[in-house]
Symmetry: none
Subunit: 418 residues, 2 copies
Amino acid sequence: MNNNKQSQIEVLCIGTELLLGNIVNGNARWLAEELARLGIPHFRQTVVGDNKERLTEVVLEASKRCRVLICTGGLGPTPDDLTTETLAAAFGAPLEERSEVLADIKAKLTAKGRPMAASNCKQALLPMGAAVLSNPLGTAPGMIWSPLPNFSLLTFPGVPAEMQAMWEQTAVPWLQQQGLTSGIFRSRLLRFWGVAESSLAEQVAPFLEQQNPTVAPYAGRGEVKLRITAWADNAENADGLIAPVEKELRAIGGSNCFGADSDSLASVVLAALRQRGETLAVAESCTAGGVGAALGAVPGASDVFIGGVIAYANQIKQALLGVPADTLASHGAVSEAVALAMAEGARRCTGADWAVAVTGIAGPGGGSAEKPVGLVYFAVSGPSVSFSFMRQYGASRGREWIRGLSVGDALDQLRLAL
Amino acid sequence: MNNNKQSQIEVLCIGTELLLGNIVNGNARWLAEELARLGIPHFRQTVVGDNKERLTEVVLEASKRCRVLICTGGLGPTPDDLTTETLAAAFGAPLEERSEVLADIKAKLTAKGRPMAASNCKQALLPMGAAVLSNPLGTAPGMIWSPLPNFSLLTFPGVPAEMQAMWEQTAVPWLQQQGLTSGIFRSRLLRFWGVAESSLAEQVAPFLEQQNPTVAPYAGRGEVKLRITAWADNAENADGLIAPVEKELRAIGGSNCFGADSDSLASVVLAALRQRGETLAVAESCTAGGVGAALGAVPGASDVFIGGVIAYANQIKQALLGVPADTLASHGAVSEAVALAMAEGARRCTGADWAVAVTGIAGPGGGSAEKPVGLVYFAVSGPSVSFSFMRQYGASRGREWIRGLSVGDALDQLRLAL
């Protein structure tokens, strides 16, 4: 093995549609996840268009840096699919027609009732010395080719399903045989709500420096995540490295840590209520069904979440939730008193044990000096507890941001009350 | 201008999470689309991790190839955010604290009631000579910096909303001033529902071949889009190229074409009802608030959309929507009769002119041979019309797919009824 190379593997995605922004590069993400799972670190991904000159340049550069270059795209039958011929020319290898590939293409087209077009013959051409990386799903085969000592190219079509099948059936065993895979990576994602990324990162700063397991923070809309990733020779040992770190991070995060991996605020709330044998309803104004939709997104929600009222207009707050007209008149629809009356009304009219209510100003219109856009009142009402709270999200990030955070905060405070 | 450079612009996305496959590179796609729209071709995208050595290498390489390098990611407050310091070091420039940036960060944190952490101070450091690319949404500013003659770096945070706002407000005008944009690209996005991408693409096949304007299809969850993009020396001429093509495409799409650009099924339905002076309510079972949330996402929805009932449990279908117990018993909750009773009940209990109802089996549990997962009944009820319809989405694409298509089909049939 040549240890002068700075990396084992790189990913190169070929396609003008990627440079035009027509599609998102899902293949790069999928391959990255696979490489991490296999314990093969990769340090660079490149995207180029279907252009001979620029593809040649990128491939020659990569051949100096890495041992294996994974290429996707440009294997189809049309004139803009020029990956194979460009790679062959880049390393000065002649193309040759592979009769077994030609027969395979013909058989696949015949099975679909399609004629063999001249353009399909192009797909049977591979550089001399390349092995066929066969495609169980489509007509375009890939190749495994070592045009230089200590440098191999693997090519895949851009069609995700074909690329994935070829990867799993042929590329992974090949990578293992090459001794490129090493040990196993396992990761655990801890999920937090109610804490800023910068603040959490500061609290866990020493962990962000350590090597195995590594800890990395990510922020989404309101949610902050810490990913713990461990490398070991087997899964059990990797999990053994993760467990103590997870325990410490959970202790630091305290009640802000609401779950791990595929948990969501909604799934955690539903699980807590399920354990108590209690039910939940919602009363939503500005979120307009967003809290209900988040709860309904969890499979099996229906044994806990029974429904609720979307009370966008005041007439519905009164008619269905029984919010008193004078409460609306004296406090305004966006108020603590109305939020509490909505939550209590939702329990009453649905018979649920618990209810959560949201009423606020999502904007861009409807704000005032006293009640600006981004002001939201919430209430939680349960068998022996009832409370309200307020958030001021500000107007700058817009309506969807305000509504999204409102859904999260409503579920989060309900979670903490349980 | 130095014409030895082979390209004007490249995109560099920085983030270990991209190399681990934790997230898809949506920023690269968004930027690619923007560059295409602005008429600035780019020929290469690169992804590297949050690693000083490798980031330095990539940036120095790019500085030899392109005039402008767009960098995203690594501007946050945590130790693994090292883009700014690495770029400064790569070109031998000292970092200096910008008092105006520090004041801006402090003001933003104070407005959110958060303390200024030591880590936030890092975000105020920029290389000497760099201009601040201000961030209207978050604490992390970017920069516009020319460390070498004929080479400029633009940095953006990885958070998409922040990157996009900074791009639109500051980067685009800067690119135009630099003379990088040529002519003008204008585009128009036609939106379709109820037709498959492949079928629409076949119907409009001749348009997909033409050059100016170009027409490109995109598919989302249920929605299909055709983007018409024209290039001309000014906006008026570009729009003049688009108009006749739009007319023809709309004629081909017929009633499947529901709108253009920022229209959504919800916004189109709300606009049609607003014009009639009529109101709308929802009654949702399996979508659990998703239709309401889609309507509520449209600014100004509240003058038309008054609310509704999330009737997940049968008791709520009965108690709030007045669905007769024997209808539920004899037809089952997922049935045409119950959908109709829900829609009529929603009109009755809310006083709305129109109502749309959804009841179905989103899975993964709850299916049977007679009523499989993916079976959904809908009803629309209005002042002088009432009808139901059924969709069988199948189980294979999962709960979120079924719920998402249900929301779209409910709104689409209401749209067609109007």
